[in-house]
């Protein structure tokens, strides 16, 4: 009998310590001060540095304010955490503020509506942001996000390499892809360097080309637009031509991609303007780079030389205990502070706050990019990007098209591969 009592005592102790552990955890949540905000984001040098600056600015008038930044590494990790927490229903594990990829905003709202807080009736003036940008985070006429940065596409070239082949940056400005392919072949022949690299299995280049002609993988009613999308066929043809020519090489992963141009093996790159910070990381190449717009698609009436890749918005979660504070913080910083946008411009952060385009800082020449005022140039590009249909199934469609293009590369008939892709997206939508 004694033994049984002893065992019982042991179990009671073990169980109560478990309960105590969980009780303590809850207690620490309760003690969090209401003038503190926790943010989850990725890319400390870019998004994190901007948030830090915003907090500094807000602290000047609100000394008791405290911002805690928790770096999640990358968007995929943040998305995984968000999905796990939201699906478990333990919403109090969320931070006050989340940074969300624009292309994932609708999907996350649709999947987890109770995570988001309506920010429409706050003192944030949404008319001061580019309307195309605000659109990503507006659902049923309500604002669920504060617009942050823009991903206007830039094409950066190594001017010293171009010169060896007898070209200048002007030969690559306002051109079409057929001209680009021709000139890139000459550069490859004379210098042995490709002008472009891409991450294998990523469809960034394809999506940039599509949007440059105002085309999207979705129709206005949200249904997939893949197999009958003429622009997509042109894009696939152009993309495969540059891979065949060797003027574009595929790297296995992201670091392989960035390393391809920072090591000097590839003489150019095309992606969202946020890449400027990475390009400038190769300090030995200072003064050898210039940026210009991307080539336009041949034979497409709506083709332009401008597109977008990436960009994100801030969302306030339902776990936020002080929504007024969060809203005021955004209104005073991202929604009105020129000081903030001026301070982070050197990182290549292009805000979508419209008045920031007139900033005096933006017209300053950048020594790394051979004295080009890159922020002014990027702002000008951003104003010309065609708006396209997005959709909650963006990532599903993107993957399906990427699969199709890989299949076409290895010999599949384009129409059949794209039909498969369309079927896949329709399948995903028909849950």
């Amino acid at each position: 009998m004694k033994k049984i009592l002893f065992t019982l005592a042991c179990i009671t102790i073990a169980a109560s310590s478990l309960l105590m552990a969980s009780g303590q955890k809850e207690a620490t949540v309760d003690t969090s001060k209401s003038d503190e905000l926790v943010v989850w984001l990725w890319d400390m040098g870019f998004n994190g540095a901007t948030m830090q600056k915003a907090a500094e600015i807000y602290k000047e008038d609100h000394p008791e304010f405290n911002l805690v930044i928790e770096d999640q590494g990358d968007w995929n990790t943040l998305q995984t955490k968000l999905t796990t927490i939201a699906s478990s229903g333990k919403l109090d594990s969320l931070p006050d503020i989340l940074l969300i990829q624009d292309n994932a905003f609708q999907k996350n709202y649709m999947s987890f509506p109770e995570v988001f807080t309506d920010l429409s009736n706050t003192n944030i003036d949404y008319t001061q942001f580019a309307s195309g940008k605000t659109g990503y985070s507006v659902i049923d006429g309500k604002n669920y996000g504060v617009p942050f940065d823009n991903g206007a596409v830039i094409f950066g070239y190594r001017t010293d390499i171009l010169a060896k082949a007898g070209y200048t940056i002007d030969d690559f400005t306002d051109i079409t892809w057929s001209q680009w392919l021709k000139q890139a072949r000459v550069v490859l022949e004379k210098t042995g360097k490709p002008l472009l690299s891409a991450q294998a299995g990523s469809s960034d280049i394809i999506n940039m080309m599509l949007q440059s002609a105002g085309a999207s993988l979705f129709n206005t009613d949200g249904s997939p637009n893949i197999v009958n999308n003429d622009v997509l066929y042109k894009v696939a043809e152009t993309y495969m031509q540059m891979l065949d020519d060797g003027t574009c090489i595929e790297a296995t992963d992201w670091s392989g991609y960035t390393n391809s141009f920072s090591s000097g093996a590839v003489a150019g790159t095309m992606t969202g303007c946020w890449i400027a910070a990475t390009i400038q990381g190769a300090t030995d190449q200072a003064g050898k780079w210039k940026i210009t717009n991307m080539p336009s698609l041949d034979g497409i009436p709506t083709a332009t030389n401008y597109s977008n890749n990436g960009g994100s918005s801030w969302a306030v979660t339902s776990a936020c205990k002080n929504v007024d504070l969060a809203a005021d913080f955004f209104a005073m910083t991202f929604g009105s502070s020129m000081e903030l946008y001026d301070a982070v411009a050197q990182n290549g952060v292009l805000g979508t706050y419209l008045p920031s385009a007139n900033s005096s800082v933006y017209s300053q020449p950048n020594e790394f990019f051979s004295g080009q005022p890159i922020m002014s140039i990027i702002t000008e590009f951003a104003g010309k990007v065609p708006a396209i249909e997005g959709g909650a199934y963006y990532y599903d469609a993107r993957d399906a098209v990427c699969t199709a293009i890989t299949q076409i590369q290895s010999g599949a008939v384009a129409k059949e591969a794209f039909q498969d892709a369309q079927d896949t997206v329709n399948f995903m939508m028909g849950n």
Binding site: K3, T7, A86, A200, G256, D399
Partner: protein, 304 residues
């Protein structure tokens, strides 16, 4: 016998020494049982319940067997099932034969530096799955180690994109798996071999059996339980393959190397989340593992 006495006897017979010990035993395993139930069985039942529901994110509704009929039309899932079985049929036999051969060599009492070889063979198992996947990816990259060697020796004239072709991508995964898991299985075989009485070998030797005869007539039958154990574990592991598909090939090219678990992950975290459908697919893996294990237990009956 009075009524009272009868009752007393009943109580006495209930609390025999054996019963007392058994109750104490139950108390001891109770905490672990509760934890396993909460951490393993509860999620399993919850997932089973979820597999009969469908919807986006948290907006789920009852769907009956819809998820299970739906997956038959899912081309990517079918591709992933084919991929898993490709890995299973090619990798598991190669690995187990290699493991049993290496274990027999290591078990040779005349072998020198046995400890060193054991460590070297087991070391890959101590590497984290993500780390070794990333290393294999860089080894087989276009500008990776293998391409550099093949180019420098003039075997290839142009770098071969190992991870960019459907068959070679799958073969790279198989090579990686063999490297990572052979040592793990060797340990089981070594343990099995050490349980075989050396006098049996001496006896067969006196009878004049050849090395092959010894292996197939003595070693292999006596290792049967271990062979069963390792093959069930390997099949189970291969069907749940995830890290290699995600980190080594990213499922590519064109889903040519994607595994079932990787696809389930994509459905939950990358695409518009549909947990009901993902849970239904997980149950298919469970049924496959259970079915294959059952077949094996029937074929290789441990009780002889």
């Amino acid at each position: 016998m009075s009524h009272k006495k009868q009752k007393q006897m009943q109580i006495k017979s209930k609390l025999t020494v054996e019963n007392k010990l058994s109750i104490t035993g139950w108390f001891f395993i109770l905490p672990a049982t509760l934890l396993i139930f909460a951490m393993s069985f509860y999620p399993m039942f919850k997932a089973l319940y979820m597999s009969f529901r469908t919807g986006i994110g948290v907006n789920m509704e009852w769907a009956g067997l819809y998820n299970f009929t739906r997956m038959l039309k899912d081309k990517i899932f079918m591709q992933s099932v084919r991929n898993n079985f490709f890995y299973l049929i090619i990798q598991v036999p190669i690995m187990l034969v290699l493991a049993i051969t290496l274990a027999s060599i290591l078990n040779n009492p005349k072998l020198k530096y046995k400890g060193l070889f054991r460590i070297l063979l087991f070391l890959p198992c101590a590497t984290p799955l993500v780390a070794y996947s990333v290393i294999f990816r860089s080894l087989f990259a276009i500008d990776g180690y293998f391409n550099t060697i093949l180019l420098n020796f003039g075997i290839l004239s142009k770098a071969y994109n190992f991870l960019g072709h459907p068959t070679s991508a799958k073969i790279v995964i198989i090579i990686a798996l063999i490297w990572r898991w052979t040592g793990y299985n060797i340990v089981f075989y070594l343990a099995g071999l050490q349980n075989i009485d050396p006098s049996i070998y001496e006896a067969v030797k006196l009878e004049g059996a050849s090395k092959f005869q010894t292996f197939f007539s003595i070693t292999a039958p006596l290792l049967k339980p271990m062979i069963l154990l390792t093959s069930i574990m390997s099949i189970n592991g291969t069907l749940q393959l995830f890290d290699e598909s995600v980190n080594l090939t990213a499922g590519g090219p064109a889903n040519a190397s994607i595994t079932m678990s990787h696809y389930i992950y994509n459905l939950s975290f990358k695409y518009v989340p549909n947990f009901g459908y993902a849970a239904a697919l997980s149950y298919v893996i469970l049924l496959l593992v259970a079915f294959l294990a059952l077949i094996q237990m029937k074929v290789v009956d441990v009780r002889d």
